[in-house]
């Protein structure tokens, strides 16, 4: 492990933790603007976290120790996920710990713990949300894996850093398979991050909510950690998307100075991505929960066809 590796790893981690709530705030702000509302301001997620961390945490009488541990585990999973995604530099000492498949596994661990914690109290909303979350999750996961496999086939490696290195720093080429994978990835990230066509993050309507139903029983610092983890998840998904489909501007291992340019590049890419996310969310209507399997089946299908096209065309 070199000093520059350590530096870029720490920088990426700190940047993820600090910027993740800002990204959520940015998306919410644009959503508000696009809907002709004035919006809560960019810093609202930070104020929210500050408020929640200072509040007392109320636990249900029937809560087991598992219920208390879950927020820390989920937060840990998301932090590690952000640490192994090459968002600034491909020189990440921690990235040896997990490749693309293990990354999907990390998201799955977080999801399982969140669902179990929601069922732990025994309220009907919790188990309803948990079931819906697992329904969405088990359909989204193979699609995400297939997307990552398409990129892995191009780079001949499942390590995210190698994928980014080979996509960003070789001669420019058009990959039709990545077009399929890109659309599939967009579908999956909408489903996984509880965004509008699948779930509305701003609603507490019992008929439709998924993510909000899961965290209904949490309060205080636990809720803060879970909300922060949700922001980190959105951040992680955005960074995976940027790393695979728009990898330009990510610093190479041998060039630590490129980090200086990597940060504004990342921030501007995230700003554009966040705006597009808010735009799509505003333009689309929330679909019925029974349409979600169809939506995710098309994502899976597109990702599989991406792999097939790669095998057919050889690029």
């Amino acid at each position: 492990m070199t000093l520059s590796g350590l530096l870029s790893q720490c920088l990426a981690l700190v940047l993820a933790l600090v910027l993740a709530p800002l990204l959520t705030g940015w998306v919410n702000q644009w959503r508000a603007w696009l809907q002709n509302r004035s919006g809560p301001g960019l810093l609202q997620p930070y104020r929210m976290l500050h408020k929640l961390f200072n509040k007392e945490s109320v636990l249900a009488e029937s809560a087991s120790p598992f219920f208390r541990a879950a927020p820390y585990i989920i937060f840990g999973c998301m932090t590690l996920a952000c640490a192994i995604i090459p968002m600034l530099s491909t020189d990440l000492p921690l990235s040896i710990a997990a490749d693309a498949i293990a990354l999907v596994g990390l998201f799955a661990v977080a999801r399982v713990f969140l669902s179990l914690a929601a069922m732990d109290i025994g309220t009907s909303f919790g188990s309803l949300g948990a079931r819906r979350e697992m329904l969405v999750g088990f359909l989204a996961e193979p699609a995400l894996l297939a997307v990552l496999f398409t990129a892995s086939l191009i780079a001949n490696s499942t390590a995210l850093t190698t994928i980014v290195t080979s996509l960003a720093h070789r001669e420019f080429a058009i990959y039709p398979s990545l077009a399929f994978a890109g659309i599939a990835f967009t579908f999956v990230s909408f489903a996984e991050n509880a965004r509008v066509p699948v779930d509305n993050p701003a609603t507490h309507l019992e008929l439709t909510m998924i993510h909000e139903a899961l965290i209904l029983e949490y309060s205080g610092r636990h809720l803060a950690l879970i909300e922060w983890a949700a922001s980190l998840k959105l951040f992680a998904y955005s960074c995976i998307g940027l790393a695979i489909f728009f990898p330009w501007g990510i610093a190479e291992a041998e060039a630590p100075l490129a980090l200086i340019f990597a940060i504004p590049a990342l921030v501007s890419k995230l700003a554009i991505g966040g705006f597009l996310l808010a735009l799509i969310e505003t333009l689309s209507a929330k679909m019925r929960i029974f349409r979600v399997p169809e939506f995710l089946a098309s994502a899976f299908m597109l990702a599989v066809i991406g792999m097939l096209v790669h095998l057919l065309l050889g690029v």
């Binding site: 420019f172 058009i174 098309s298 299908m301 597109l302 057919l312 690029v315």
Partner: protein, 219 residues
Amino acid sequence: MNALISQLVNLFAAVMLILAFAMLSQRRVITLIHLFAMQGLAVVGATTVVAYVTHQHHLYYSALLTLVLKVFLIPFLLHRVIDRLNVKWDIETLFNIPTQMIVGIGLVIFAFNVSLPIARFSETISRGTLGIALACLLLSFLMMITRAKAVPQVVGFLAMENALFFAATSATYGMPMVVELGIALDVLVGILIMGVFMFQIREQFESLDIRHLEKLKED
């Protein structure tokens, strides 16, 4: 530079395949027609690129013909038909859409497998896209046979023609100009006749469901 341009053909082919799947999963007639027009645009793009690379001037004319016919005229006619018939919204399918998707993946695998040995003998820059063209063809065919109403079936037929045209371009740099003109005219006349048919079906059965046509006698 040349390598990048031939990759552009592949990209257009991929866009065609995405649109073929989008059409297969579409539930609204009006969006279906928009998708069909976009697929026509992808064919125009691919044909123009092939024409530019190979200096085959007649391909420019066929691209122009496709642009006028399949991107503007036929969608316009279809829009008029559905306006008059007032069938803008739902598409009825004979079996549900996720199943069709799975069948669609099977068809794509089949098409890719079949076309690989053929493409190996081809010398054209776009030989890899023959499999995609074949897959689009089969998907459009699937769409045609799984729809209950007449309008989506007609769109399926037209998408099939798109795929055939693309297959011809990618395999042999297009058919002779006379043949292409003939096909274009056939399609145009076909769509007019089908339009008349749709009105007739509607008049006779008060619905566009072609299952009514299976009854040969009045009971």
